[in-house]
Amino acid sequence: MFWLQLLTYVVRRLFLLIPVLLGVTILTFAIMRAAGDPVTAYLTNPEQIDERRIQEIIDKYQLDEPTWTQYIYWLKGVLEGDLGYSQMSHLPVSETLALKLPATFELALTSTLIAVFVGIRMGTVAAVRVNSWIDQTTRVVSLVAVSIPVFWLGLLLLMVFYNQLHWFPGPGRYTAAEFNLNDLKHYTNILLIDTLLNGRWDFFKDAVMHLVLPSITLAFASTALIVRMMRSSMLEVLGAEYVRTARSKGLPEKTVINKHARRNALIPTVTVIGLGFGGLLGGAVLTETIFTWPGLGAWAAQAAINLDTAGIMGFTLLTAIIYVLANLVVDLAYAYLDPRVRLT
């Protein structure tokens, strides 16, 4: 009975996704078309610009049809599993996304892990010792962390830890001078997993070292959000009756905080973590650009600048799906963690 209920809920939510996705893609398509002449995306160098070539492109991609009809063509392609051809990466869009998403996933996962690890600890301590100097320091530090421009932070970290101290390698996903991606057999395109599956410890170590600085850069803002959420929900829980009961039973403070309070305080924090992770999966344009990370964000930014409509449409579709799915997963997790919440 429960599983059936769950299933109907998920199916209903997935159906609701359809109008949102249609709306997002129509809007994006309209903006891309309004933004500029789609022919420009297909002309890579000035020598190609002559009337005949332009006419050829227009005929080939049906660019003389009304925008609406062109959108329908695109939609038809998507339903048949064809996302189109990205002029910028000279690859089909689906292939490009499959190449870029794992790199972004790697970065999003490591930075979220850092943020969760640091954020939950700091938030708990700040709430337990509310209004102490630790609490005040945590508050100021997390405010600085959300206020810092991420590209500036990235530049500073690179300057200090790469340029001056040489603790970590420079931008990129691996040391291109020493390692070659073609040496690896690609199982997942996630470098950390692929190197291990290939038994290349040296390559794995190199990849990990390259991940450190961009992950820390990206983790700053999400850590601050988790700290803030964790602190306020922990404060609420610590004032609850069952915490008083636990204390009056004579349980040690450590048990009360770790077993009784923290677990319940985690519930609303999960929302922040899940949605933050979903947001990061859509690509972090600035961080990826600074660390020349070959991920979704940096690629989409380039596609946007080059007016690569097919690329942007594919990217928009993917990020919208990720966003909506992240919302769904968060709601499910919420209901699982807090039995009082009913899925309707």
């Binding site: 340029n163 007016l307 919208a320």
Partner: protein, 326 residues
């Protein structure tokens, strides 16, 4: 005689200024007493709470400082003509000079661009940009949110689905596409940001309205014959602005972060403008060879600006959160 004189005197006598003012103001005094006074008392109490929080006061102090610089930048750095929003250049100084060198308090960038000048006038650019984006988005978002939440039904459903679409669109990427075509233009960036920013406020306000409209004073207003527009504007709006104010305060900083980021990527402010993101972009190739001032100072300016609004917003949230209060 006496009577006549007194009569004459009476007609002659001009009413004192004080009396005139009093009669003229009487209805207004009533308004102040019944309508404004409790609100003023409330605001005074809020300000009192705010003044007790050290971090909020730090935010207010930073904000006052930034506002003075943004409103009166010529007091701190002589404007560069013809357009003071562009950095002054000196073609005879091709190489950057370090801070405290002759004529440059915070050093100079490529072609003698004065970093100090950029920091000062950049505050004006950031402040006007953020105020415009946030203010317009708040107005659009609040009106739609109140309307959607109060009316309910199909219209509400429609507005919320449109909001969903705008919330799940990769806004930064679209802003980039628009900026790529319209060129490096702050006004285009502004429009593009407003086009996506309102949706957050709509959702926030709608949530507020849904709980407010269940209150009995709304029923009372309806029973006493208030029109729907009046209920929305006079009863629901004044009771739902607190979270919007907190969110808008913090968004002032976020908007500037986005603007600086776009400018850094070469999509927001035009090259040569006294905008902090552009300045960091200019300085980053010199950063590696040790010319730190071209990157560090503009970055600190952005951090200070965003920090000021976040400190204040954080304090405001504590005040308006009834659980934290009293």
């Amino acid at each position: 005689m006496d009577l006549k004189r007194s009569e004459k005197k009476g007609t002659d006598k001009k009413p004192s200024l004080k009396a005139v003012v009093r009669t003229f103001l009487a209805p207004k005094v009533a308004v102040v007493r019944t309508f404004l006074a409790p609100r003023i008392r409330e605001i005074k109490f809020d300000l009192h709470l705010l003044s007790k929080s050290a971090t909020s006061m730090a935010g207010v102090a930073l904000l006052v400082m930034l506002s003075v610089v943004a409103i009166l930048p010529w007091l701190f750095a002589a404007p560069n003509y013809p357009d003071p929003l562009y950095m002054p250049f000196d073609r005879f100084l091709p190489d950057p000079t370090p801070p405290l060198s002759e004529g440059f308090l915070l050093g100079s960038g490529n072609n003698g661009a004065d970093i100090y000048y950029g920091i000062i006038w950049g505050a004006r650019i950031s402040m006007t940009f953020a105020i415009q984006v946030v203010l317009i988005s708040v107005v659009i978002g609040t009106l739609l949110g109140i309307f959607s939440g109060y009316k309910g039904g199909t219209l509400d459903e429609l507005i919320m689905r449109i909001t969903d679409i705008f919330l799940s669109i990769p806004s930064l990427i679209l802003v980039m596409a628009i900026a790529a075509v319209l060129g490096r233009d702050l006004n285009a960036t502004k429009m593009a940001l407003i086009a996506v920013w309102w949706s957050g406020y709509t959702r926030l306000v709608r949530g507020q309205v849904l709980s407010i409209k269940e209150n009995s004073y709304i029923d009372a207003a309806r029973a006493s014959g208030s029109s729907e527009g009046r209920i929305m504007l006079r009863h629901i709006l004044p009771n739902s602005w607190a979270p919007v104010l907190v969110s808008a305060t913090m968004d002032m900083g976020t908007v500037v972060l986005v603007m600086a980021g776009l400018s850094y990527l070469g999509l927001g402010a035009a090259h040569g403008m006294a905008e902090w993101g552009v300045m960091i972009n200019d300085g980053q190739k010199y950063f590696v060879i040790g010319y730190w001032w071209m990157v560090v100072f503009p970055g600190m300016a952005i951090l200070t600006f965003v920090m000021a609004f976040n400190l204040l917003g954080d304090g405001l949230r504590d005040i308006f959160d009834p659980k934290m209060r009293r």
